[in-house]
Symmetry: C2
Subunit: 191 residues, 2 copies
Amino acid sequence: MKLLEERIAKDGRVIGTEILKVDSFLNHQIDVNLLDEIGKELFRLFKDRHITKVITIEASGIAIAVSAARYFNVPCVFAKKARSLNIGKDVYRSKVHSFTYDNDYDITMSQSYLNSDDTVLIVDDFLANGAALKGMISICEQASASIGGIGICIEKGFQPGGDEIRSKGYPLESLAIIESMSEEGIVFRNA
Amino acid sequence: MKLLEERIAKDGRVIGTEILKVDSFLNHQIDVNLLDEIGKELFRLFKDRHITKVITIEASGIAIAVSAARYFNVPCVFAKKARSLNIGKDVYRSKVHSFTYDNDYDITMSQSYLNSDDTVLIVDDFLANGAALKGMISICEQASASIGGIGICIEKGFQPGGDEIRSKGYPLESLAIIESMSEEGIVFRNA
């Protein structure tokens, strides 16, 4: 997605060779016009997949999921991280490893909002090692829901998550794939 | 807001006299059409306030903030809860007490995204004791930003937060105010 790549090149900040900060427009401050275009592009990519739900994990996936869900005109559901007194007992649960913090956390989703009638679009802001994504795939499997698509805003193509998920046959599309990056600049795949 | 009150009455679940679960349409699964109407109503209420930013706290405020920000055509910024390795050092910070979990947590917002030129609309899904809201007000004060409005989806009118914030002169509007509730039903203020 040209618009997103251009924005990353303009406003993204690379720290070292692994950290890309996009918090001026995507996951801390949010540019609502760009967000609309992201939702529209995800709809264009997956509109024939009979999507019934868009799911993500709190917190930074929520804006993207809501934007996509508007175009599909279906509900969005976000998995919660760990502790939630009020969520109840009937939940799907999956363990996710955080490479950033080097620890594990649980994600949960109420069983009321995902079941075998659903065809899901999974979305997230970043894909690197794929840990969060595998957690969401596990939740879809627990619900016997079909995965109609996986839509990622920014894939770090130099980390293994994307290739691993694709090799398993999942319909994964990333709006921008970074081949390599440094403080000198960012190289996008197929750009 | 009639549409929201009707939806709460139809799909909200009251547990005891203090817990209202709206996770089938507002803060776990999200009805994107209702969300659009909420954004539109917040715009109607505060459109003359020269709003330059919509702010909230992750996670359940994000969808509402994004929806409102679309109508105002301004960026949305969400405060982060606690630990964030990548957020950097130049942050506004405020301590929030959680009555649900009986503990304190920090919220942070990068200083890059809020300053004295801003007029802010603060939004959130719930207002009960007002702890989260006071944290956001503190962040606006630290930034010397003006508070142009505070828009809440559901205020628990039987808890003190709303009256306390109003008595200080803040322009607070809640789309639905619950006077009392029990498993027998919900009574809205001015309904």
